[in-house]
Amino acid sequence: MSTNTDTALEGLRARAAEEGLLDVAYTTADSPFGPLLLAQTKRGLVRVGLPNQNSDELLVDLAERVSPRVLEAPRELDEVRRELDLYFDGKLDSFDLPLDWRLSGGFRRRVLRAINRIPYGQTRSYTEMARKAGNERAVRAAGTACGSNPIPLVVPCHRVLRTGGALGGYGGGLPMKEALLQLEGVLDESPAS
């Protein structure tokens, strides 16, 4: 019965994709930090859930804010998974993935778009990001935008530090931010902070 169900589910996912019914396709992927939740719409990657975030809550949030047609469909996210694997192996320094920005608007979106242009292995300050987004004095709001980044890792908010080089914060926890910066060769083994 269970194999029966498995093949039926596999076919269901394929047919739903063909018919354009996968408003939100998601999967979980392994990473050196723990499991990631990856979710995409027809426009592109819309959400990356970090290991310390509750996947069920993220999916409920996607159902409310994007569409309740949320289905697990690992194959749809093959390319995202492939690029992330390469990134964690230190073999990819720039993601080539379509992104869906709909979960952030206004100033936050402008901050995140600016963050998305910070090259691999470099860092910027929250102040610089606020300026790039059009309001140099909104440093705190820029920090909030980083903290609410719906697509972490791919939109590299880990590359934003406090003026002076202190780490600041990270949604996935500071040890993860340190490890990512070490991976990119920005930080030595003993970081300043």
């Binding site: 093949t7 039926a8 589910l9």
Partner: protein, 155 residues
């Protein structure tokens, strides 16, 4: 209005029940296709669903319709009982469950669905009635007739 849960949650919670009633309603050959038809129809309609309180009854209603479509498309042929029986007999050990479901599959549509919903999916009479689109009394009667016939067949 209750917010709709992610469709995957609905699938996780109810796919076994839908599979069970379809197995009873259309037999092994049709179950996979009917299962997919059921959930595709559900997925299409899902964002416009206004009441998320009885998702199970909603899905079973769709499943029931898909089972009827299946039988209609095949010219109201009964489930291919002979085929299933042959497979079961091949290894010499008649599978009790399979034998039972085969007999269920040979019941007239309403009785078949009522039995499958009651014993395959463990639904109370009220929900069976909702899924079949009839009164609870009629559901009870179909179930009773179905069981009577099964007892005779399997005695």
């Amino acid at each position: 209005m209750t917010a709709l849960p992610p469709f995957q949650t609905v699938l996780d919670e109810h796919s076994a029940a839908v599979m069970a009633i379809l197995h009873g309603a259309v037999g092994r050959d049709g179950v996979e296709d009917c299962f997919q038809e059921t959930f595709l129809a559900a997925l299409r309609a899902y964002p416009k669903l206004e009441d998320a309180r009885n998702l199970r009854g909603w899905l079973l209603t769709i499943a029931h319709r898909k089972a009827i479509d299946y039988h209609r498309a095949r010219g109201r042929n009964p489930v291919p009982v002979a085929e299933v029986a042959e497979v079961a007999a091949e290894n010499g050990i008649p599978e009790r469950d399979e034998e039972l479901w085969t007999a269920v599959g040979a019941l007239p549509p309403k009785q078949r669905a009522a039995v499958a919903l009651r014993y395959g999916s463990d639904l109370p009479h009220g929900e069976i009635a909702a899924a079949l689109g009839c009164s609870p009394e009629a559901a009870r009667r179909s179930l009773h007739e179905g069981l009577k016939r099964l007892r005779k067949e399997l005695a």
